[in-house]
């Protein structure tokens, strides 16, 4: 990796979070040169312990990370999810996803964001001059011309490439500069994130329990711990997050039951407001969006980053194939190919997730009955369950090469 001003590049990537880093790595693996721009140098941010969030990595996402050489370093700390149990309060039914129903591999792994970031940076460093990191850098202006686009940073530095990629999150600056509009749905809900130690082993079972205020997810971590994502109405969430550890643990216990024994929060505890942000287009002239910049979804199904990695896989394949044929990487023909490959998948998942949220966060008696019945019915129809599990694992439909575990 190099610092500072780059020479001519195939792509400029705005945003060096998980999506941006993975995009940079995938493109470099495909033989392309990239500049990665962020306000904060990811190499300094990665060392800190500020991000306690964990990410559920689906089977196909793990294949992608393995193919890019970024999985081995996190594998030792990744806890497999073998089964998922979805339950609804006051309903006798629950939905049990067993990984053996869809093949023999774990349904996913829970990985710490910090460890994943460090692994991606390690792999990027191996690409030497193909990747340069420009930080701190804030995008100030975007200009499109024949054959390329020029991004001007707030310090006056200019970066020109055939295509500029926005991996700069749900409040994407590039999206604004490119004039891509978004549709936002505010759920007035927030997720409390914490790490929980428990008395009894989790047996690699992930729990997702739907409550009137929102779902509570407990995802298995190593050393008899679980990652907690507790979603409530924002006011309530802010209140709960302030509770002392004993009271917080007791409140959680009351909601999820005793199967894990006594629950002890380990902290640090953080609160993330939830909203659904969907860009009206994946691409604009010489611009393409990946990850949260294109679609920040409610983390109810734990699919946000996996959806982002599906963007990365499709984009890397489209751009790499185009470069091998000498095509203009930022041409409408190439970028529309990317949008065409992604749009259906995103819309399906966003619609499903949004629908789930509304259905499961609604404390109306008739709906509760429907939910209870619904879960019971799904539980009894094996074909539907297999399809649902495979979608959660990310192996449904025709996949880009990286998601099948094949090189670019």
């Amino acid at each position: 990796m190099r610092n500072g001003t780059a020479t001519a590049r195939d792509a400029v990537i705005l945003g060096a979070g998980l999506s941006g880093l993975t995009t940079a790595l995938a493109l470099a693996e495909g033989g392309l040169t990239v500049s990665l721009v962020d306000q904060i140098d990811p190499r300094t941010a990665a060392g800190g312990q500020s991000d306690v969030r964990t990410t559920a990595i689906s089977l196909s996402s793990r294949r992608l990370l393995t193919t890019l050489g970024a999985w081995d370093a996190v594998a030792s700390d990744a806890e497999p999810i073998l089964d998922i149990r979805v339950s609804d309060f006051e309903s006798p039914f629950y939905l049990h996803y067993d990984h053996r129903a869809a093949g023999d591999e774990p349904m996913g792994h829970i990985v710490g964001n910090t460890a994943l970031k460090a692994s991606l940076l390690d792999r990027l460093a191996a690409h030497g001059d193909r990747v340069s990191i420009i930080a701190p850098g804030i995008a100030a202006a975007l200009r499109r011309q024949a054959g390329g686009a020029t991004l001007t940073l707030d310090d006056g530095q200019t970066l020109t490439a055939p295509v500029i990629l926005g991996a700069d999150g749900r409040r994407s600056r590039l999206r604004d500069l490119a004039g891509i509009r978004v549709t936002t749905t505010d759920y007035r809900q927030s997720s409390i994130v914490d790490t929980i130690a428990h008395e009894r082993p989790h047996h690699n079972l992930a729990h997702e329990r739907f409550l009137p205020g929102g779902p509570i997810a407990l995802l298995p971590l190593r050393h008899q711990r679980s990652a907690l994502v507790w979603t409530e109405r924002t006011k309530v969430a802010n209140h709960i997050a302030q509770l002392d550890d004993a009271t917080f643990g007791a409140a959680l216990q009351e909601r999820v039951g005793d199967s894990l024994g006594r629950l002890t929060p380990l902290g640090p505890r953080q609160v993330y407001p939830l909203s659904l942000v969907v860009a009206e287009a994946y691409v604009a002239e010489r611009v393409a969006l990946v990850g949260d910049a294109a679609h920040a979804i409610h983390p109810i199904a734990g699919q946000g980053f996996n959806l982002g990695l599906r963007d990365v896989a499709a984009l890397a394949e489209v751009l790499t194939d185009a470069s091998r044929l000498g095509l203009d990487l930022g041409s409408a023909t190439v970028l529309r190919d990317y949008q065409r490959r992604r749009r259906f998948d995103t819309m399906t998942l966003v619609a499903a997730t949004d629908g789930l949220t509304r259905l499961f966060s609604n404390d109306i008696a008739p709906l509760r009955t429907v939910r209870g019945l619904g879960l019971g019915l799904v539980e009894r129809i094996p074909a539907f369950k297999r399809a649902a599990i495979r979608h959660a694992m990310g192996t449904l439909g025709s996949l880009p090469r990286l998601l099948r575990g094949e090189p670019l």
Binding site: G147, L325, L327, D328, R336
Partner: protein
């Protein structure tokens, strides 16, 4: 016409502003994927896959980004440069020739704007024969179906390729299916190309072209079918050469 233009706000006595506008419009039309040449844009990736696969072994370049480095390629009927530009990006030294002077001006314009060096010239392949020019490879994509005297055209192609060099043709087959698809669908239903663009009777079959080329000392590979998928909006290589196809031929030493 060398395609030289003045930008807005500059004064240059010899350039007619109407011309500038007209060329700008033409360049836009050639390079607008939603414009009249949209179908050709969609056809570029498949044609480039055929070209790359056929010519990379000839170049034996060690730079994966420039697999055609060191090759001289003549693109006959280059139009706005839809293939000339990607071939240049892959490292080839490309000469583009087209009888349509306005198309050549648009091509020149676009190449300059995107920073590619391509030797464009208005004229016919026969002009280059007269000059004694030789190339490592010659491409004639969607040309031969418009040529009345195919044997004479093949004579010119032969003269322009060095011994051991490669010829790549893409064209339309003369079949029942190509009649319904290329003429009825493309010209009348989808309005992809202006009516009367194609004369079905002039479409050559792979057998006819293969015969003409073998008689001129070429080794001709089996035709590669290029099939349009209306759902994906793209062309794919296939064994089905009933409508669009490519022929790759090597001139014997």
């Amino acid at each position: 016409m060398n395609g030289g233009r003045t930008g807005p706000g500059t004064s240059h006595g010899t350039v007619d502003p109407d011309d500038v506008d007209r060329f700008a419009r033409l360049a836009d039309r050639w390079w607008d994927p939603d414009g009249p040449h949209g179908p050709l844009h969609r056809y570029v990736p498949a044609r480039m896959r055929v070209i790359r696969a056929a010519l990379a072994p000839l170049a034996s370049s060690i730079d994966p980004r420039r697999p055609l480095a060191g090759l001289s390629i003549l693109d006959i009927g280059c139009g706005g440069g839809l293939l000339a530009e990607p071939m240049t990006r892959l490292g080839a030294a490309v000469t583009g020739v087209d009888a349509d002077a306005a198309g050549i001006a648009a091509a020149q314009d676009h190449a300059e704007a995107v920073g590619l060096t391509i030797a464009y010239r208005a004229g016919a392949a026969e002009d280059l024969v007269t000059e004694g020019a030789k190339f490592d490879a010659v491409i004639a994509s969607e040309v031969v179906e418009h040529v009345a005297d195919k044997p004479a055209f093949c004579d010119a192609l032969t003269a322009l390729i060095r011994p051991g060099g490669t010829l790549i043709l893409t064209t339309l087959n003369r079949t029942r299916r190509s009649w319904s698809q290329a003429i009825v669908a493309a010209e009348y239903v989808l309005r992809w190309v202006p009516r009367g663009t194609h004369d079905w009777n002039a479409f050559p079959t792979p057998e006819e072209l293969t015969g003409l080329l073998q008689a001129r000392g070429f080794t001709v590979e089996p035709a590669i079918g290029l099939v349009y998928d209306p759902i994906e909006g793209s062309f794919t290589e296939s064994g089905d050469a009933r409508v669009n196809y490519a022929l790759v031929a090597t001139r014997k030493d």
